[in-house]
Subunit: 124 residues, 4 copies
DNA sequence: GTGGTCTAGACCACA
DNA sequence: GTGGTCTAGACCACA
């Protein structure tokens, strides 16, 4: 876990958790890492994780079971909807950037295909 | 111009200028907006623009002609290389995010094509 | 039984019991629910109820009959005095809040009358 | 400023600010005390005030003008609606407490009138 | 000077 | 052990 310096640490961790939930690494209904554990793993202060979990709770992706810990929402449909939203936003943002930089859709998509293939090779 | 709250303003303005240069809106060799003007346009303190131009100078995308102001580098090849780098980084970042969120390449590219089409329509 | 998150749970349960005693639901001299039962009802750890009963004992509203359990005080006069005090405190607190919020007594009392009527209707 | 121990400090300060806004002590469009100043006044840590202002911002009662400070919303109608809501909630809560404690509406309202008169005398 | 983020760490309620 | 609140205080971006 290392962080970009121009973005807030907590928002980067939020994004990280969100993606773990979308990918199923943190499955629906599953217990999330304890605040202090995640703080150690991310090498940040527990308060920062408190904030991360607070925002994800507000977003309803996770909930608190008082002293038992934090859990991923049991509502799989909700996660799916959020995941679709996430894809749409990221796609729109990417397209927007390309357009602003004057890069055509063909060229951008070609490069993305390459990148996807590259990722694939690395995984094997 | 409105800014995301999780990123520093100056880094967002840098990105903005960079894209203007890549797209040719700020053409090679061309004079950049005066600090005060850009500050007004961005509703930002001139100091912030000073910092933006300083970082872009360090990156060699722009240079200072002492009394005449800031100019986009005359080296078109350099701009092209930077533009390609930009595309590669953005593509890699996008792919990385999709992979982490467990979204397949086919689905992602399909959504991107949609987004590109959507953008196109809006412009007409 | 659900609890406000900005107040300690034990203080909310104390308030609850106190009101049960004032209303006569837990009559003078009567046996209070066993710790375990109340804990189950409130979905709370028995330790929390222990604390609740301890504080109410200190306040003399209840007492412990060693092996037989906890009982509401037999002193009806004491309960009446406490109830009057309770009313006075609540009324003073309400008035204080209204004054701080710049709400006039006429308006406040009018709204209270409405609320009392609403409660009445719901009960039928 | 002294705080009840069974309630969270930040929620008590939120209530305080809210009432100042409702009463017009902090007028619509007006600048709120700086975080550090209010922290000193309340004898709490600045972070606690940060949280207070954050929650009031979410509620739209106040907003942030980047480095200029925090301001009460300019929307007087919104404040009025919130004030009405506040009165309704407080009245409902009071009535609920009275009912649970077995105190009749006549008695409660009589005591409230007294309390209002008492307040009035103090003010003279 | 203004707000925002973050750290290190204490202390509490609840289980 | 779990989360929640709070403190003291640093450091940063922005004006």
């Amino acid at each position: 876990m290392d962080f970009k310096s121009n973005e807030t640490i907590y928002s980067q961790i939020i994004e990280y958790i969100r993606k773990q939930i979308f990918s199923g690494s943190y499955g629906s209904g599953t217990r999330l890492p304890a605040i202090r554990d995640l703080a150690v793993k991310c090498k940040v202060n527990p308060n920062t994780i408190v904030r991360v979990y607070a925002e994800l709770s507000e977003e309803k992706l996770i909930y608190t079971d008082s002293t038992n810990g934090k859990f991923v929402t049991a509502d799989r449909g909700f996660i799916e909807r959020k995941k679709r939203e996430y894809l749409e936003e990221k796609a729109a943002a990417f397209v927007d950037e390309m357009r602003q930089a004057g890069i055509g859709s063909e060229e951008a998509i070609e490069k993305l295909r390459e990148a996807f293939r590259g990722e694939g090779k690395e995984r094997r």
